[in-house]
Symmetry: C2
Subunit: 171 residues, 2 copies
C-alpha cells in the first residue's frame, strides 16, 4: 500500500541523504520525493511516497524520527490532507492539432507554459490521479518530455494548528 510521508528536517548538510539512505537500507522504494523550503528558513520539508505495509511504515516512522536533524514525521492521511502534484509536459502540437490540445488543457485547468511552432509545454497541477488522467489524454499526440514533482501535501484548512503556530512539536 502507498503512503505519503511528510518529514520536517533542519537545513543541515546531510539531512536529506540520511533520510533517503534509511529507506534504501530497508529496501523500500521511493516512488516520488520532493524537498523544499518551509515557512521557516532553517527548516525544510521532505514529502515522499513509499510503497510498504502499514506495520513497516510505523516502524520506519520511528526510525526516521531518531535521525539527526529530523524535527517531525507524520503520514498525510488520505482524505484529511490536501495533496497536489505538478507536471510539465512537452506535447507534439503541429498547428492543425493546437486547438484540440488547448481545449483538452482547459478541461483540466492545465496552462500553457510555453508554445513553439510544433510543440506546447503544458503546466498542470492536480490532486492525486488528475495528472495521470491528463497525461493519458495527451499521450496519443506524442509526449516529447515530461517532468513531475512528486506529491506534496498539507493538513486540511479546518485541521487544528495549536494556537496558530506552526506544528514543530516533536511527537
Amino acid at each position: 500500500m502507498k503512503h505519503t510521508l511528510s518529514i520536517l528536517v533542519e537545513n543541515r548538510p546531510g539531512a536529506l541523504a540520511r533520510v533517503v539512505s534509511m529507506f534504501r537500507r530497508r529496501s523500500f522504494n521511493i516512488d516520488s520525493l520532493a524537498v523544499g523550503p518551509t515557512e521557516r528558513r532553517d527548516v525544510s520539508r521532505i514529502t515522499l511516497r513509499v510503497d510498504c505495509a502499514d506495520h513497516a511504515l510505523s516502524q520506519i516512522e520511528k526510525q526516521i524520527h531518531k535521525l539527526v536533524d529530523v524535527l517531525r514525521v507524520n503520514e498525510l492521511p488520505p482524505g484529511e490532507s490536501v495533496e497536489r502534484e505538478l507536471a510539465l509536459i512537452n506535447v507534439a502540437a503541429p498547428p492543425s492539432r493546437r486547438a484540440e490540445l488547448l481545449a483538452l488543457a482547459e478541461a483540466f485547468r492545465a496552462r500553457v507554459a510555453d508554445l513553439g511552432p510544433d510543440a506546447i509545454v503544458f503546466e498542470i497541477v492536480g490532486a492525486p490521479g488528475e495528472v495521470d488522467a491528463f497525461e493519458e489524454l495527451v499521450r496519443p499526440h506524442g509526449v516529447k518530455e515530461l517532468v513531475r514533482t512528486g506529491r506534496i501535501g498539507l493538513a486540511r484548512a479546518a485541521a487544528p494548528v495549536p494556537d496558530g503556530r506552526p506544528q514543530y512539536v516533536l511527537r
Copy 2:
C-alpha cells in the same frame, strides 16, 4: 551561483540515494530536489537546485554521469528552459480577511485548494520568484504551514528534440 540540474535515472533501488550521496560527499548543499515519474515507466527524473561554482558544477555533472543507473545529466540553462515550482500555503483567514486574501490570490493566479472557518490552503504554481513573492504577501496574515516542491523544468517548446523522440541519449 545556483544551478538547476535535470538527471534521468533508471527506476532501480538506490538510484536516488546514490545521486544524493554524491552531493553530500562533496559537501554541496541541495536547495531543493524533486523526483518523479517521466514519460517512460522505467525512468525517473531528478531535478535539483544546487549552489556551487561553475567549474565545480561541470565536475559533478561528469561524476553523476558515471553513476550506475544514470542515463542523462544536463543543466537547465536559465532563459532556455521552462521552470516551475508548486507550493501549498495554509494562511490564517478569519472571515473578515477572506476577501482580501482571495483578491491577492487572484492576482497571482493562486487557487484555493481548501477553505476552513479560519484558514485557506492556497495552491500556487509559479516561475522562479513568483512563489516567493506570493509567500511574502500573505506572510503578514499568518502562514500556518507551507510546503514547496522545489523547482522542475524542461527545455522550451521550440527547442529541438531529435526526430520527435525523447532525448534519452547518453552524452
